[in-house]
Every structure is written in structure tokens, then in C-alpha cells.
């Protein structure tokens, strides 16, 4: 609250890049030259020690976090957005890290085997147990076996392959490339990989509104290898241990994990630096400014698993 009214619509900036293509350009990718070597443009070039990763985070902040919208343009629950969570690795590129997520289970406290995913591969005891459990509890019907669905899916994918073959055939004979059949099959409107809009009658799910399975917190663990390698006198007697790195409810972050919490957090992070091409947004007094800088510094430190990479 001290930092910013992060969800305050007054602070919504105008969108200076509207589409995904604009976003890519703002991040420095040359999408207009499709003939350019994509491996070179996008590839995971680094195979040795990491470099340029602070700039990567700063670009992310300036081009994506800074563009996050408040309630007016992002929705009451930030439903305009979804989140990609990228975790630390075990490989010591920085320090080894792991994440344990915690989610809401207040609506169910036990499972019975009647809903097992693999009916076909259960043991006899398991099947009998499932039967007994189902009868005794008169549980609600579950679809259970997925076989039928996957058979149907196989048919669908086979049909698609047939259409693809037909298109290739037609493309090999130029006179047929203007046929209505070909044009119809190639029409972008036939793109089956674009979803229907979500029916308005459906409620928002666990990512947006607290309910069963909503993520509530995660805990990040790490091994401080600089400490282990250079400060332990006798590494062989040291007991290997992942220690607490941080949790999302600690005093520094102190936030939930719903999408609106992430958006709120991103908007706070974005305020810690000027947005490229824009006038610096005032954070208020110098104390508030200091808190903002500390927030970003801490975020970067956590991003590199407290390895000191950014220094």
C-alpha cells in the first residue's frame, strides 16, 4: 500500500504495444524477418556460464510487468492474465533450488481409490476396495476410465493427418491450388487450434478466486554452494541440506498466489524503475523509493538463487 496503489486504475498506462508481435519487437526480437536464422535470434545460446541475465530480467520488468493493467483493463480478478511460473533448477547454474507449492484442500480431506485413474491396471485388492468404497459411500459418478476419450482423440488426430496429406497433394499440382476445396481447407478460419471463448456461465477457477486447489503459498529451498565450497572447513563432515530460501508469505513478499496477487506484485516491481520511453513514475518520498529499489533488488537476488550473479 505504501509503495503504490498497484491495482489502482489511475496508474494504468496506455498500451504502446497492442499485439504479441509488438511485444516481441519491444523485447528485441526480429520477427519481421522470418528468414533470419531463428536459432540465432532466439536460441538458448548459452552453454557455459550464464551472461546477460540481469538485462533479461530488466527487459521483462519494463516490457511486461510495467504493462500489467489494473482492474479497469485487466478485470476485477486480473482475469485478462495467466501466469507462467519458472522455477530454479537443481543444476548449479546459480545455486541448486527446489520449490514446494501448497494449495487449498479445505473442501476435501481424503481420497478413496474409487476414483483411481488407472482402472485397468489396479490390483485385485485395489479393485475390490474401489468397489466397496463406491458402494458404501455412494459417491458421485466420475467418468473414470479415459480409454474412450483417447480413442476418440486418436480418430480426430488421424482425420487431421488425412486433411494435411490432402493439402500436400493439392499443393503438388499447381492447377488445383486455386480449387475451392483447397482454399477452404487452408482457410485460417478452419484453424482448430484457436479456442472458443469461455462460456459466460462458467465461474472463474482456482487461479483467480480462492477455492479448492487454489495455490496459497510456495516455499523455495536452496543449497548455498558458495558457503559450502568456500566457508566450510571440512566439507566431508558437512551434512548435505537444502535450506529455506524464501516463502511467498514471508515478510518481504507477503502475498497470495492468485493471478491478481501476481499482477499486483508485477506492478509494484515495475514501479521500481523507469519505463523505457516514459517519464519516470514518481513513487513518492525517498523512503518509498528506497523500499521500491529494495523490492527489485530482492527479487533479482531470489531470481539468481542468492548466488550473487547480479553482482
Amino acid at each position: 500500500e505504501e509503495l503504490v496503489g498497484a491495482m489502482d486504475d489511475e496508474s494504468d498506462t496506455d498500451d504502446d504495444f497492442e499485439t504479441v508481435e509488438d511485444l516481441y519487437r519491444s523485447l528485441g526480437y526480429d520477427i519481421d524477418d522470418e528468414s533470419s536464422d531463428p536459432l540465432h535470434t532466439f536460441s538458448d545460446r548459452y552453454m557455459g556460464a550464464p551472461n546477460g541475465k540481469v538485462t533479461y530480467l530488466e527487459n521483462l520488468r519494463d516490457s511486461m510487468y510495467a504493462k500489467l493493467k489494473g482492474k479497469k483493463k485487466g478485470g476485477d480478478f486480473s482475469e485478462r492474465y495467466s501466469i507462467a511460473h519458472i522455477s530454479s533448477s537443481v543444476i548449479p547454474t546459480y545455486n541448486p533450488g527446489l520449490r514446494i507449492w501448497e494449495y487449498n484442500i479445505t473442501e476435501f480431506n481424503s481420497l478413496d481409490n474409487s476414483e483411481s485413474e488407472a482402472q485397468g491396471s489396479q490390483t485385485l485388492a485395489g479393485k475390490l476396495s474401489s468397489y466397496l468404497n463406491t458402494s458404501a459411500k455412494n459417491t458421485t459418478f466420475h467418468y473414470g476410465d479415459w480409454s474412450y476419450f483417447f480413442q476418440q482423440l486418436e480418430n480426430l488426430l488421424d482425420d487431421e493427418e488425412q486433411i494435411e496429406k490432402l493439402i500436400t497433394e493439392l499443393e503438388s499440382s499447381p492447377d488445383k491450388m486455386n480449387s475451392s476445396e483447397y482454399l477452404q481447407m487452408k482457410a485460417p478460419s478452419k484453424d482448430k487450434t484457436i479456442p472458443n471463448i469461455m462460456p459466460a456461465s462458467l465461474p472463474l477457477g482456482p487461479a483467480y478466486i480462492p477455492q479448492a486447489l487454489s495455490p496459497e503459498r510456495y516455499v523455495q529451498y536452496y543449497v548455498d554452494l558458495n558457503e559450502v565450497n568456500y566457508q566450510k572447513k571440512d566439507i566431508d563432515s558437512w551434512k548435505f541440506n537444502y535450506k529455506l530460501h524464501y516463502s511467498t508469505d514471508d515478510k518481504f513478499e507477503s502475498r497470495g498466489l492468485l493471478v491478481k496477487d501476481w499482477v499486483n506484485f508485477g506492478r509494484k516491481l515495475a514501479k521500481t524503475a523507469p519505463v523505457k520511453g516514459k517519464e519516470t513514475e514518481k513513487l513518492g518520498d525517498s523512503e518509498t523509493q528506497l523500499k521500491g529499489e529494495k523490492l527489485w533488488k530482492n527479487y533479482v537476488d531470489r531470481a539468481f538463487i542468492s548466488s550473487g550473479y547480479q553482482e
Partner: protein, 328 residues
């Protein structure tokens, strides 16, 4: 997990899951080796302690994980985590990088290491007494996904069925429900009900969206593996909605601008948006950096609309009418 009569007893849901990624165990890693030699070889003229490898690895050296780090990590998970979680999302890269000219990786080596890591994962997360259980009945469900280093050549993965998808099925057979064998063979993607009747994790082979996979150009053309992956994803999400299941997405390469073609990014963004009644989020690996990326559905829909308008194929009354948040 079983009572005295051998029946599987009711299972407690802990409300926790583990996300682990990019283990990169390296059999060639030697303690005291030169960092400039990828920690594979000792050198006489290295004088600083900073320039040689250590037992549990060396941050920012470019070296992979020593086996001591790998095995100690699994042991720590078995002791401290296994009994407190419901499932594991494990997002790949289970072998060293191909960064040593003196020791180029072979396909067989990649498969062998993946097989070894699978066996170690099963040992780590198997409850006592579960040895005899059918693998799918085990309490802690494991959902692996394919890393760009788990395939040969590096980054390159063709649509299946191929020898690689077959081999991968064999390696992951304990994790992939049998009825998905054929679907898996098409592209190394599958799903698991990690909390039966409640929660599903999708293992998405994001190498089909990955810009560094030379076999992928975009996600708009029918022939592209990325397009085909979206066909599977769309059908799967529809079925999950029909069954009332909630969904976590998972995979190795994050579907973000740094890694995937803009057409793929636009599509995954709109799918996540239009299934916001069930998708909880996506957990990904590959980048080594602990961070998060927002996916903006409005930008994504605008891109799709622009493409269709240019092709004269946009129809406001079509099956995917556009929601304009700016005017909402």
C-alpha cells in the same frame, strides 16, 4: 498405503506438490577438475580454488551437476519431502549438456541416463510397502516432461511416432497411463490425474513450440508440430472441463517470448485465458532463473484477430468472438 487385508486405504491429501527441474547429472564431473574443462578433467596449472570443481558443484561455472549433488538431492527429498506431498512435477533435462568436445553425447547415453534418473525418482518417492503395488497405484504421482537436452540431437524433436517417442515411452512407462500409449507416441505428451477426479497435470512437450527446435517454424500451419500439439491440448482441456477437473500445465521450455514463436505464444495465451475456469497455471523449467511471466490474453487475441483479418477470415459472429477488454 495398504491395510492388514491388503486393501488400499483412504489416502490423505497433503495439499502440497514438488516442482523439480533441470537436474543435469554429469557422470564425468570430477572433484578438483578445471572449471574451464567443464569440470571433466584435472589440470596441473590451475592454482585458484575458485577455478576447480567442488563436491556439490560450482555456481556460474557452466559445469553440470556432480553426481554427489544429484544423489544427495534425491536423498534429501526422500527424507524431508516425500511424506508431505501429493505429487511431483518434474520438468526434464536429466543429463549433462553437450558442451565438451572431448566427450560428445550419444543418443544411447542420453536414454541410459534418463532411464537411470527415472529409476532413482521411483525409488525416492515410493512409499514403504509400495514395491509390489501396480505403479499407477503408488501414492506420490510423478509427472515428467521432456527437456531439450533429453533428446538427440540437442533441441531437435520430430513429430511421432519415431524411435525416440517409442524409447521415451519405454523409459516413462511407469508414469504414462496405458490408454495414452498411442497418443503419447505422436508427440511425447500426456496427462495424469494426480488427485483422481479433481486435479490433472498435463505434461506438455514444449519442444514443439521451442524456437530452437529446427523442426518448428510456427503454430499456425497445419503441418507444424506445434499446431498438432495444440490440437491435443485443446481436446484434452475440453475433456477436463467436461469432467470437472482442474488443471496444471507443465513442461520444460517455458512458453514465453524468449523461447517460442509469437504465433505459439499467442495461442497458448488464449487457451489459458479461455480455460481460466480450470487452468491454475503453468510450471516450467529450462531457464534456471526463479521468475514468472504474465501471459496477456488481450494482446494474444488481437494478434490472432489481425492474422485472420489479413486473411479475410475474421468473423465477429464466428465461434470465437473477440472480447475487447478495452471496451468492457
Amino acid at each position: 498405503a495398504t491395510d492388514a487385508n491388503g486393501f488400499t486405504s483412504a489416502r490423505v491429501v497433503h495439499g502440497r506438490f514438488l516442482h523439480i527441474t533441470d537436474m543435469h547429472p554429469d557422470e564425468l564431473n570430477v572433484i578438483g577438475a578445471a572449471i574451464r574443462k567443464q569440470c571433466h578433467k584435472k589440470m596441473k596449472n590451475v592454482v585458484s580454488n575458485m577455478d576447480v570443481s567442488h563436491k556439490y558443484g560450482d555456481p556460474m561455472s557452466g559445469c553440470d551437476s556432480p553426481l554427489d549433488l544429484y544423489s544427495s538431492t534425491l536423498e534429501w527429498l526422500r527424507t524431508n519431502v516425500k511424506d508431505h506431498i501429493d505429487f511431483v512435477i518434474w520438468t526434464g533435462d536429466n543429463i549433462r549438456h553437450d558442451n565438451d568436445r572431448a566427450h560428445p553425447r550419444t543418443e544411447a547415453e542420453i536414454f541410459d541416463m534418463n532411464e537411470r534418473v527415472v529409476a532413482d525418482f521411483i525409488d525416492t518417492f515410493m512409499d514403504d510397502g509400495e514395491e509390489e503395488e501396480t505403479v499407477f497405484d503408488r501414492r506420490v504421482k510423478i509427472v515428467p516432461s521432456l527437456g531439450n537436452n533429453d533428446v538427440y540431437p540437442h533441441n531437435l524433436f520430430a513429430p511421432g511416432p519415431t524411435l525416440q517417442t517409442r524409447e521415451l515411452y519405454k523409459i516413462w512407462r511407469d508414469f504414462i497411463p496405458t490408454e495414452q500409449m498411442h497418443t503419447f507416441d505422436r508427440g511425447a505428451y500426456f496427462l495424469r490425474e494426480v488427485i483422481p477426479g479433481k486435479l490433472v497435470v498435463l505434461s506438455i512437450n514444449t519442444l514443439y513450440w521451442f524456437q530452437s527446435n529446427p523442426l518448428n517454424d510456427n503454430c499456425d500451419s497445419r503441418k507444424q508440430p506445434g499446431y498438432k500439439l495444440f490440437l491435443w491440448l485443446g481436446a484434452t482441456l475440453k475433456e477436463c472441463r467436461r469432467r470437472g477437473l482442474k488443471v496444471w500445465l507443465s513442461g520444460h521450455v517455458p512458453p514465453i517470448p524468449k523461447n517460442i514463436h509469437h504465433s505459439c505464444y499467442a495461442k497458448i495465451s488464449v487457451w489459458m485465458h479461455e480455460y481460466r475456469d480450470l487452468i491454475i497455471g503453468g510450471v516450467w523449467g529450462h531457464m534456471n532463473i526463479d521468475h514468472w511471466v504474465p501471459m496477456d490474453s488481450v494482446k494474444a487475441w488481437k494478434s490472432i484477430k489481425k492474422r485472420l483479418l489479413a486473411a479475410g477470415a475474421w468473423d465477429e459472429s464466428n465461434h470465437f468472438p473477440f472480447i475487447d477488454y478495452d471496451q468492457m
